[in-house]
Amino acid sequence: MGNTLSAAVSIGFHGLAFAMVLYLISVGLSVTMGLMGFVNLAHGVFAMAGGYVVTSLMSRWGVPFLPALLGAAVAVSLASIPIERVLYRRLYGGEELDQVLLTMGLVFMSVAAATYVWGPLQQPLQPPPWLSGAIDLGVRSFPAYRSFLILCGAALVTVLWLGIERTRFGARVRASVDNLRMAQSVGIDTSRLFMTTFALGSGLAGLGGGLGADLLAINPSYALQNLAYFLIVVAVGGLGSIRGPFVAALLLGIADSGFKYLLPEFGAFFIYTLTMGILLWRPRGLFGRA
């Protein structure tokens, strides 16, 4: 019995860490898709860029871990602004298929660009010494880095929630997600809002990519390999929501780990069937608003 409990705790723990990474990366996608109605299949590129920036800063310039993370988030965030202004803005309210083509084109270009700059090999993340090893709580020990991931995720979801519920900016976002025309007629500068939200979402993705470099390996095909994961989190969670992707990521992360532990032969089947079931029950996602 103790063994099963121990195993369950371990699975839950690792699933939770995985969920946090998925959440950090996908929350930006959920909000921008809900807000701008833009199918951004290239969202993974921002996460990948964040991962590359973090690993490069740390390995080539010896920048310590936390500043590197921050640097990555800021760098990706700033870099996303011209992309949004020049390319994405043309297609707001436009044909979904055009958005698909544009963003897939960007993904392809990112694969080649990453190969050109960093080569085809995976970039490993060496966590700093104070995050290596395990935290011993007496009754059992937990890997330090995964614990850090969970804490970061929890902290960020709280900050995001406060931000969206308690600030004026958050209110504007919520209003625009609910009813864009109305929001515009009330005087909200939706164009600026889109830009800022997009930058924030991309920055978060960059942060998630860097933090999660252990779990989702940083390599040139990153955006393509993990596209399905991000889309599932967003679709199941619901567009335009902060909570939605959190719950969806939790579900995906923990259920995925659980299924793989209990029935490894069919682990993948279950998670996809579960996704299908949830989408049948709630086509808008669990917390979809848009």
């Binding site: 195993a7 699933g15 995985f18 040139p220 780990s257 532990y261 682990g267």
Partner: protein, 395 residues
């Protein structure tokens, strides 16, 4: 008989006047430059290029080798179509390269129909591929070749209970079958097995299962690259070895190129493999020196690179012996008898009966030398033929 034939052929070739011997040999090289095996493919390509650079001058005067490089984008039917085009349009005399065994499986039947030899350099899965066509020779290694010996070795260490954990696709299944057969034949008992999805990001749940079963030894197979690193992290996080479980794996888990990036976790891990960059062989020292000269001090070759190097050596051998003038049958006769006692991986030869590679398999342990981790060879099982073919002779 064939050996005499070769000697006569080479004598005849050597006696041809030089002016007749102006030849460009077209060789089709199919690699997977894009796609999920770009990493091993890149290592392989470096091996090809290095050999050509170092040995171009060795070719007889007037004879050149033209390498036509093609990208199969890790897609078997693209590979098949490229091979078709190389044969019909570019009229290559020889095909080589190929990283993925599905691509090799797709291309092999064509070699018989078109009578164009294929020298498999990198693909290691698919034990029966040389049987698909009499025009296929493999010079890399087979999964049974490296998984079987370590099963036997594990049982010899006195480990009684074993567990297998492999990626859920054919290379994984092959390795699992090989280890299981060898381990059980030598008296061990397999207490459990688990297979994980081929592109799995998080190995924690699977490592947990292994821990629960508490075997003496666990055999792990994941494809080289991001999967291997992910598995190492999970092993470390869950303290698999601290729980008293010995871990053995084929060389795919710890390619020499990846090893420096895995931190200290792999220390003490036992793997079986056909090449270790640390091997203290004169041929290897020379190879390493050439490698570092060309690709820099930080770059490390691994088994993909050496397999490619050896493949190119065989092709050069063929071209030198025949002055670039050979039919498919002559090429296969030559390649099936290819021997290289001085490869960076040790002595290698092709078994003429199976047209597959025979080579030493080394048991290696990861040790720290200076500030780097290396695969140190601690035991050698000499001249291993592909065990699967030994156990399953053609009907």
């Amino acid at each position: 008989m064939l050996r005499i034939f070769i000697v006569v052929l080479t004598a005849a070739g050597a006696s041809l006047p030089a002016s007749l011997a102006a030849q460009t040999v077209k060789v089709g090289l199919i690699n997977s430059y894009t796609g999920f095996v770009a990493q091993p493919a890149d290592q392989g390509q470096k091996g090809f290029d290095l050999y050509v650079k170092e040995h171009e001058k060795d070719l007889p005067p007037g004879v050149k080798i033209e390498l036509l490089r093609r990208d199969d984008t890790s897609n078997p039917e693209v590979g098949k179509r490229l091979a078709q085009e190389l044969i019909t349009r570019d009229r290559v005399q020889l095909l080589t390269g190929i990283v993925l065994s599905p691509v090799a499986t797709a291309v092999a039947p064509m070699t018989a129909e078109a009578k164009v030899p294929l020298l498999l350099d990198i693909a290691s899965a698919g034990v029966t591929i040389p049987r698909i066509s009499p025009y296929v020779v493999r010079i890399s290694f087979t999964l049974w070749q490296q998984a079987y010996p370590i099963g036997k070795w594990a049982a010899e260490q006195g480990w009684k209970t074993g567990y297998t954990a492999v990626s859920d696709f054919i290379p994984g299944h092959d390795s699992e079958a090989a280890f299981t057969k060898a381990f059980t034949d030598a008296g061990g008992k397999i207490v459990g097995a688990v297979r994980f999805p081929p592109t799995n990001p998080d190995f924690a749940p699977f490592v947990q299962r292994i821990k629960d079963a508490k075997p003496d030894v666990v055999f792990i197979f994941v494809p080289a690259g991001t999967q291997a690193t992910g598995m190492m992290k999970a092993m470390q996080d869950l303290g698999l070895r601290e729980a008293g479980i010995n871990v053995v794996a084929p060389q795919d888990l710890l390619p020499d190129e990846e090893l420096p990036r895995m931190g200290d976790t792999p220390l003490g891990l036992i793997t079986s493999g056909t090449y270790s960059a640390d091997a203290k062989r004169p041929a290897n020292e020379a190879f390493l020196a050439a490698w570092k000269r060309e690709y820099g001090d930080k770059s490390i070759p691994d088994f993909f690179s050496v397999d490619a190097w050896d493949g190119m050596a065989a092709i050069y051998g063929l071209v030198k012996a025949t002055k670039g003038n050979f039919t498919a049958d002559q090429a296969i006769a030559f390649l099936s008898h290819w021997k290289d006692p001085d490869s960076p991986r040790g002595p290698i030869m092709i078994d003429p009966e199976t047209r597959d590679i025979v080579q030493n398999v080394y048991i290696r342990r990861v040790e720290k030398q200076g500030d780097r981790l290396v695969n140190v060879e601690i035991a050698t099982i000499p001249m291993v033929k592909d065990p699967w073919k030994e156990l399953n002779p053609p009907k």
